[in-house]
Point group: C2
Chain length 357, copies 2
């Protein structure tokens, strides 16, 4: 599309509507909640949290369910947080009693959880976790990495009492990559406003971006750094499509498709990296390959069949598994046949490599 | 376009070629130079400089030629630099003797210069400035904010001995907004590698992005944070168009068009914010309005005529001037008639508001 000026009335209106729709995506109606949409990748969301909500020397508890928890922990440490990681064996997540114990041992400014860890396909439950944190450590901010979950797993921001969810445009939202999208509670914004030290980042500073987001949502032009009119328009379109139907239908459809995929994988005799059914994501599946078949053998063969699976990214098990993304259109529009095509290609290529299904 | 996987061979090749073309855009052939292309806005380039090339407590000299120098100074201070601003009266830039004096008084880790300050249209000369710095303070890194200059003003990175130029995709490069594009010298990369403290940002960290950029340029897939295939493709196309003709022609054409615009403005009896001809940018013109006519009167009228001028952003003079961008296609393709249309609309709307041209 033709590029608009980032302060033209048309674009200001589009950006403002996009921010308002982001509230709906997160199911928040609390006017104190604050959305941020900034040019960047999902990773930038970690910087927004680490540089604004945590001050140097403060403790953060990172719930570890895969590779991406290590990244979030590194980012927090970069800005001076003292990070404690609560690790679970690969393919599982930290359990509530262990989290309760950890929270009772130290005063944490924030706890972070990866809603779906893209490296393992492990789904973390948020509702009971949030209730636990509110009960045993009520001042602790509850921060969710929702890069691989927003728009395919339910997130009831207000109802569950979350304080921050950071995500990106290119996964289940179905917009091109290039936008960091996040939502923070009134409580998180107060924690930011009452910090003693200035924000530890410039580009990821809530002080710099907060007034801009408020102005755009009030349909007033405003400038800190140039937004991307093309990507904001794409996000506007993506959110309009998502919100045209009840979100509950969208989440239910992802579960339905995911259940079918998990059954097919299991019937094939394959195991998932996420070992417990209640901890399996609904927008992706991480699948252990049969003994003797490597990711580097099967991925190119699948590619030739027109099906893109991803390699493993959890360094301890990377060559042994592959990842199958099934979020957005592929799950919501079964008439496309994407899922069947991918599963059949997986089966036939495993067989071609000598696997007895 | 259809979204590609950021690790698919086709995309890796496109991204690699884009990085190589970026070297040509900056006229650097030194293999030690390192380009970075990261999802973000031009502002992110300041963070890359401030969080990687300067350590907390080190001194930086900021040459002030408008609003954007204040921004760069704020960013540097955020990451702990001790900033000294050398300010010039509005519409001018710091002069070499004053810069020499400042450099002799303190040991600066870096000096920053805004090549073209978008708020004033002031052009800073780089060649003689760089020679001066190399002579009187050879260890000082020379960092250029080239957001409003790259691809419309000459930048001979190697020949002039620059250490860093940061820019964005959406100005003279002619690509949609959403990418931070930068080039650093081998000397700058060494300064980064020998820093005692870790990089002060995570998303803007050269440690995180350096290996990724090297891998993509060597056509190997690599992951730190998800790049935007759509924007990288657009940048690839934009750079292919730019490099299809000699850069010298491109710069000469911008000067030729700019000279005509400046003459028209002067013949209209109007003054530029940039008061000295040798300090006037060639991709934009900042124009003082006649006494009694406000930017808020004429900008909407121009908009109705289908011509977008921008308001003032230099806070001390904002209501008194407007800005005219004439970089990229509008200057390079005079057959479009963009420039004539804009100048005639400016004249007729001034007259309609009572100005006697």
């Amino acid at each position: 599309m033709y590029s608009q000026s980032h302060v033209a009335a048309d674009f200001v209106s589009t950006f403002g509507d996009t921010l308002s729709m982001t509230r709906k995506l997160f199911q928040t109606t609390d006017p104190a909640s604050q959305p941020f949409i900034i040019s960047g990748s999902g990773t930038l969301g970690w910087d927004i949290v680490a540089a604004n909500l945590v001050e140097p020397g403060e403790d953060v508890l990172v719930l570890h369910s895969g590779y991406f928890s290590d990244g979030f922990a590194d980012c927090l440490a970069t800005y001076g947080a003292k990070v404690t990681q609560l690790k679970a064996p690969i393919g599982t997540k930290p359990q509530l009693p262990d989290i309760e114990k950890a929270l009772s041992e130290k005063k944490y400014k924030a706890i972070t959880v990866t809603h779906v860890d893209t490296s393992t396909g492990v789904l973390s439950e948020l509702k009971d976790l949030s209730a636990l944190v509110h009960k045993v450590s009520p001042d602790t901010l509850i921060i969710v990495d929702g890069v691989c979950s927003v728009a395919c797993e339910e997130i009831a921001f207000d109802e569950w009492g979350l304080d921050g969810v950071v995500t990106a445009s290119q996964k289940a939202i179905g917009c091109p990559a290039g936008l960091s999208i996040s939502m923070f509670s009134g409580r998180a914004m107060k924690a930011f406003e009452s910090r003693k030290s200035p924000p530890a980042s410039y580009f990821a500073s809530m002080k710099n971006w907060g007034p801009i987001m408020k102005n755009y949502e009030a349909k007033k032009p405003s400038y800190f750094a140039t937004p991307s009119p093309q990507l904001i328009h794409a996000l506007n379109t993506a959110l309009t499509l998502i919100l045209a139907k009840p979100l509950s239908e969208r989440f239910a459809k992802h579960i339905e498709t995911s259940d079918k995929i998990k059954k097919y994988i299991s019937d094939l005799g394959l195991n998932q990296v996420a070992s417990k059914p209640e901890e399996q994501a609904h927008g992706m599946t991480a699948i252990y390959l049969p003994e003797g078949i490597k990711a580097t053998d099967i991925l190119p063969a699948l590619g030739k069949a027109g099906v893109i699976f991803a390699g493993g990214v959890h360094k301890e098990i990377a060559p042994k598994y592959i990842r199958f993304g099934h979020m957005g259109v592929s799950s919501l529009n079964p008439e496309r046949g994407d899922i069947e095509k991918a599963l059949q290609a997986l089966k036939s290529n495993l067989v071609a490599l000598g696997y007895k299904a």
